[in-house]
Symmetry: C2
Subunit: 413 residues, 2 copies
Amino acid sequence: MAPTRRTSRDIRSESRLDVLHALLTAGETTRNELARTTGLSTATVATVVSDLLSRGIVTEARVASGRVGRPTTLLRLNQDRGRIVGVDVAETYIRAVVFDAALDEVAAAEVPADERHVGTEEVVDGVARAVDAALARAGTHRHDVLGVGVSLPGSMQRWGANSPVMPNAARHHVDRHHVDRLRERLDLPIVIDNPLKAIATAELWFGQGRRHASTITVNLGTGVGAGIILNGAILRGATNFAGEWGHSLLALDGRACRCGRRGCVEAYVGASGLQRTLAAVDPAHPLASVPLQRDFIGALAAALEPPGPDPAVTETIQRTARYLGAALADLVAIVNPETITLTGWTVWALGDHLVPAVRRSVVEEAPGDSAADLEVEVSTVRGNSVATGIATIALERFLSDVGLVTTRVPTAL
Amino acid sequence: MAPTRRTSRDIRSESRLDVLHALLTAGETTRNELARTTGLSTATVATVVSDLLSRGIVTEARVASGRVGRPTTLLRLNQDRGRIVGVDVAETYIRAVVFDAALDEVAAAEVPADERHVGTEEVVDGVARAVDAALARAGTHRHDVLGVGVSLPGSMQRWGANSPVMPNAARHHVDRHHVDRLRERLDLPIVIDNPLKAIATAELWFGQGRRHASTITVNLGTGVGAGIILNGAILRGATNFAGEWGHSLLALDGRACRCGRRGCVEAYVGASGLQRTLAAVDPAHPLASVPLQRDFIGALAAALEPPGPDPAVTETIQRTARYLGAALADLVAIVNPETITLTGWTVWALGDHLVPAVRRSVVEEAPGDSAADLEVEVSTVRGNSVATGIATIALERFLSDVGLVTTRVPTAL
């Protein structure tokens, strides 16, 4: 595939996305302020705002009268334009979140998933039930839904009748037939992508992504992966596999990974990797036999609170920080981002104890002084960043469908 | 640093680069043909060609009379516009190549370097001697030189009086003072960058880089590294460290690397890594004690020719293919390029024996079917791709200085 040539139409589209992002950040703001924060000319901002007003994406909130001069109109995203749903299909739960068109959360619903036994049938059914429950809670009619984004684990861009999905081959044997059924069952405009692209999108719209030329956001949960943002755009790669850092090597011939290979990053810093580290430190430790990952991570977090951890827990955190630091250093060596943000339920539970040690480890393990100025922080994206991100992708798709942005959202399907 | 906003001026600049690239590929061609190959409108091509003609970058070669219609003017790059010099400072040699302004090689000169004892003084002196010798051979006067590009190993964008250069800290303790002396000694416009950026530039202008949305070109020699091309542009990273894949992990706590860490890719697939693999297979093997890397790689290549390799050599090649395949699979997992090309003197010597096995290994080691359609080939860039690439960067800088392209070439200094 040849490189994409950028046209003046793409520049117009980017200006619109810049204005939307500025509105999202500011809440209510003026045309002059939009010009200042976006760096666009006032003439461009006026045109863009007019386009967005005419499509009902933006609305004139109210008139603010300053102390001097004539009153100024305040603009905001039109929350009542419709609803967007983001669905995070995780190994341990399926969560649907209803957002308004300004991407503020309206309501959410979660159905449990058993990490040990989840077939595609259960996933399709679980997504439908979670969406129905969330829409009911939000009091939203289906015809008000502009789009539904569904984040499914693994890299699913090559589904075929018989091709299993990576890396959870055994679990998500999802094929087009099943996706078509999901589409049919929901009867709503739907986009499907993987969680790495979702968290990257969330970081781009709500986190560090637009403040830096390059950001990597790393997700730590059952699976681990990286959302890579370069110059304001998400790196998808040739076949949407970019960011599958969780299945890059940490240790040749190391621990068996559930993807079938040995030594992957995920086998060390995924939730069950942490439990394996604890078991390696102290096989008889009571936490080493907690059966469910989320319970284990919760118990580990609890053990770190006063009166404080036992030596095996301390050693587990130290080893994990080193593994994670070394694995992040590989991202620095290859992509060399300005900033790395961490997200996912392992980070939410253990971040305070893990991040300072990880930061030291990255600087130590990265080539030369390449990580000297690198920021390593817990992501500032609020709430469930997978649901927020996949909803944002659904909104982008809607904006693309109505002709406001040219960013063709190359989702998995 | 905030993401770069693209302007209509950048688009004009990109059109000029597209036309230059098409001319470089075609040799002689017409305006109509340029429009066809670049996808630009005939009006745009006419404007671009006129700009390039007026600056003497392009010249009207001759008039071709077709069988019908009026004669057509053939265009080509103006070889006589001036000379460009590319200098490849490698661990084992310093090679200066003089190119004409169409980037055709005119003459070259090489001075040997001893991989075991090369200080900055020797490098500065060696570069100057190689450039002088190459210019003399080309019969080029210094005032005809449009620019000199110098590729120095390591990541040198943060030179300071006391900061050693990575990864060859012990060898290339180059600081601004030395670079200033190099500039003074050569008394020519100079750009400095690292070999990864040079090979990526060569791949972009002369290889796969413009035919694919994403290409990674991998250099195998004393050091190893990756030049990453995304959507027609080179990925430099926040601090010009992008592509330092040679210092990403292959094996946690593995072989000591000359960068000071353990387990780096380079310690396995760099030239001396291959020798260490052979020594691990058979410590008493005669090739295990060949003192110089280039002699060792040459001897290894000779051993692969009829009557054929002994079992230790075969095993060394097999292990190396697996190491390299696993390390390339990490690039696929993280960046997911359309194609990977291999270059560097280890590849030139061993490519035929190594590449088929490496290709199989990448497909096996990469996540899911992410490498199913990946092309892994020896680079088609002719000659010394580091010298060609760094000369191209010098030409880009010249085009930028005369206002034809906005691509600010963010070189190391």
